[in-house]
Amino acid sequence: MLKELFANEFVVPLTIGFVFGIMCRIHLLRTDYRQYPTYPHGKIIHVSLGVIASALGALAVPALLKENYTAVTFLTVAAQQFRDVRNMERTTLTEIDKQELVPRGGPYIEGIAMVFEGRNYMVIFTSLIATTATILFNWWGGMIAGVIALVIARKLRSGKTLSLIADTSPAEVRVDGKDLYVGDIYIMNVGLEDAQNIIREHGIGFILTPKDANAKVTIAHPGQRQAILHDVATQLGIYTDTGEPSLTPLVKRDLQSGRLGVFLLPQEKDVERGKAIIDSVPILESVFRMPQKTKLVKKEL
């Protein structure tokens, strides 16, 4: 039985591709402050889908070599399947978001859903490369190609962060009677003296200065601003509760300069960590704007 199995010329390539694909998925799957995917069920779902993806990737080239051309069409089925992954993630996260004290916001959810779909394609790519290389160069070739694919996948894992496009500096939270300011940027009107005192005591503020015109447009997007608030709230905690609208963290924009005034109410009043967290907030793909790429407005902006 085993002998027959190993007599098949494609067993070793398929196995190597399959294993590298699964390794790639597990490597890309991590639970961090985003608390997503949750352990263990969320992980089981994504590892299983990763197994399917790596099987598909591994099969493509051997199928072609066996002149089984129709078999390649199942890759289109795979693409459909993984688009559903994106839908599934979007639905789940939107449901969760309704109950968050500081919601993620639509664009952030879209970004996360997109990543889940994309990672499955990375898995297909890795196993495809590993299988092809094994067929072409023997098992060690497959190993080398697989490792290179893993390195590429790792590089593509993390996107850009806010520190690339904006400078964050701590600023004073000033409660001037009813008016709340962060630095010189007006945030909101707080009428209740009780709330004013809490804000004086617990509020921290930051000013984000965009580095160029592209950054100015990108950080102005409400989705990006909501992502900042959510990230800080998940990592530093939040000093508020349901039904406390006066204690809402808020980001407002200085229209003149495009700077952002970030007003936060963290559970832990730690300005250093707050700055580090804002610096590492991901730039949302769906929000990223590049007006400078347009020739028309290059000068004016």
Binding site: K178, N189, V190, G191, L192, G243, S246, T248
Partner: protein, 60 residues
Amino acid sequence: MTGTILAVITVNRERIAGGAPIFIEPTHEKMQQTAFTLEKILDAMVHEVSADTLIVVRHK
């Protein structure tokens, strides 16, 4: 963001009229107290329009 005025709390009765429920209080402290209570009951935010008038607004 659209807001609805749910209540008006004031110490100056002459300057207030209109559709929302109006709470008239004798002192500044009483006004703040009523505003606090209303904020907790209504889950809405208290804003200061002028020194003697507060409004309770529900945002969104």
